[in-house]
């Protein structure tokens, strides 16, 4: 049978994107080591490129990749054993006869095992996030470094250290017991939210969003809700669904970004909004909600408004204030300032944003400069607006965003008296 090599390669690439994390999660369980599992994953995909060109893509590529990866790892261990005369018991544990059968449910659980292991409290918070983005979501080291605003080598070092702690302190590859679950959940939620954000607003690259990442985060969020329907797990899933519902309205067909106020709200995903709103109500009803539920409530207020003008900005400001009491971060302060600008006018919002920037917080945070530039533009402070857009442009790493800012700059310079 003939299989066009270029076509097979495309198929393998597509399967890599959808399957590699599932395969890795299961290989870690079967092989008991992150690095060995990663090597096995690469071997399996290398074998796929060759073999699928001959035989075509198998009916169940995931199972094929898991079996192939496992055999490749056993093969490697045997070959190195010949040179290093490794203790033979470690080989026995890899032998195919003793490896438990894997079924669909167990493979799904492996993803959860992987995320709870990556988010283990014995790892530093920074490592938990770095490792989860790298291992669970398959982000490259550079993408993770970007999300952290740090140099890739520093990030790579952090991942190496986290993996060696897992191995050397023997952090188990398991879903925590019910008793430990609530406190372990909080870290997991935070990590999932960051993953969602990377998908919702890509930090680098040609496109505004990375659907696979937000989809991944939402899927993980759903899995957690099934496992532990705690209010904040519901709140996080609601938040992600409500934000993701705007996807179709956030960019033009050509990939240019559209601001919230200019979005065609009829393009928003109503089914997701309904699901998200229902989840928010369930979470609020529990009276044990936290920051995710509050943010989801804000997103729900946006979702129920016909347009920006008829949005209940007073309620949004009030929700941000509750949120600030729970979690006083400058990013939330910035969002509150933007909502105040909508309620009380751009001048009030501008003075709040300037106060945050003067403190030295968020000076490297692109949305702060975009928000400032926009308020200055509305107030007719053309020179100030240009300066802030220029600052934002210097920080922008994503093409649609750069084009948006460049276009705003062009318009402003055209009206500028200079």
């Amino acid at each position: 049978m003939q299989h066009d090599p270029a076509h097979v390669r495309d198929q393998v690439d597509a399967i890599y994107r959808t399957e590699s994390r599932h395969v890795l999660a299961t290989l870690i369980r079967l092989l008991g080591d992150f690095d060995i599992a990663e090597e096995a994953l690469h071997d399996a995909f290398a074998a796929a490129v060759e073999q699928w060109a001959e035989e075509g893509v198998p009916a169940n590529p995931r199972s094929w990749l898991i079996s192939t990866g496992r055999f490749k790892a056993i093969d490697r261990a045997r070959r190195s054993a010949r040179f290093e005369s490794v203790d033979s018991s470690s080989l026995d544990s890899l032998s195919p006869l003793t490896v438990p059968e894997y079924n669909v449910d167990e493979v799904e659980d492996d993803r959860l095992r992987l995320i709870f292991t990556c988010c283990h409290p014995a790892l530093s918070p920074d490592s938990q996030i770095a490792l989860t983005l790298r291992e669970v979501c398959g982000l490259t080291t550079e993408e993770v470094a970007n999300a952290f605003l740090m140099p890739p080598p520093t990030l790579a070092q952090r991942i190496v250290r986290a993996k060696s702690k897992i191995r050397d302190a023997r952090i188990p590859y398991e879903v925590p017991s019910r008793a430990d679950l609530p406190e372990r959940l909080e870290t997991v939620l935070h990590v999932i939210y960051l993953v969602f954000n990377e998908g919702y607003f890509a930090s680098v690259g040609d496109s505004l969003t990375r659907t696979d990442l937000s989809g991944e985060a939402i899927r993980l969020g759903r899995l957690l809700v099934d496992l532990l329907p705690e209010p904040e797990a519901l709140g996080l899933l609601a938040l992600m669904l409500l934000l993701d519902a705007r996807r179709a309205g956030r960019a033009t067909a050509e990939g240019e970004m559209i601001l919230l106020e200019d979005q065609d709200r009829s393009s928003w995903n109503r089914a997701q909004i309904d699901e998200g709103t229902e989840l928010v109500e369930r979470a609020l009803h529990s009276r044990r909600f936290g920051p995710y539920t509050l943010q989801a409530s804000i997103a729900a207020v946006h979702a129920e408004a016909r347009d920006a003008a008829s949005t209940d900005w007073a309620q949004i400001v009030a929700l941000y204030e509750v949120l600030l009491r729970a979690d006083s971060s400058p990013v939330i302060e910035l969002n509150r300032a933007a909502a105040v600008a909508m309620r009380d006018g751009p001048a009030v919002g501008l003075s709040l944003i300037d106060a945050i920037l003067v403190r030295g917080d968020l000076t490297e945070y692109l949305p702060a400069h975009v928000a400032r530039a926009d308020l200055c533009r509305r107030l007719g402070l053309t020179a100030d607006s240009i300066a802030s857009y220029e600052r934002a442009l210097a920080l922008a790493r994503q093409e649609p965003e750069k084009r948006f800012i460049t276009q705003r700059l062009r318009q402003l310079r055209a009206t500028s008296p200079r």
Partner: protein, 117 residues
């Protein structure tokens, strides 16, 4: 896998406790030790004399140098240890969380390097 659980607590506070409180603590320790002996997780354990009895030894320029006191002076001192057998870190954390001093001080859990015999 073996883990060393190092018990850090405030010696001064301990010495100021009334006798019945100290006795209560010791009974809890004995009960805890018995429980991990029964479960087969106890490998070894000892209480240490207070940190003022410590001597720190170094060799510098080929000469032995000894100084009075522990290596690091901190608010909490190493007061004893358990060497335990545990399935993995979660299991070790579970055992360490039952050490009475976990409530007042802190337990540092460190895996032991295992070398082939």
């Amino acid at each position: 896998m073996k883990y060393l659980c190092m018990i850090y607590d405030d010696e001064q506070a301990w010495q100021k406790f009334p006798k019945d409180v100290q006795d209560g603590y010791m009974r809890e320790y004995m009960a805890f030790t018995d429980s991990i002996k029964k479960s087969g997780q106890h490998v070894g354990s000892n209480q240490l004399q207070p940190s003022h009895t410590a001597t720190t030894v170094r060799i510098r320029n080929g000469k032995v140098s000894t100084t009075d006191g522990p290596f690091v002076e901190t608010k909490e001192q190493l007061g004893g240890y358990y060497l335990i057998e545990a399935k993995d870190l979660n299991d070790a954390i579970q055992v360490a969380s039952r050490i009475p001093s976990a409530r007042s001080g802190a337990i540092e859990v460190r895996p032991i390097v295992e070398r082939p015999a």
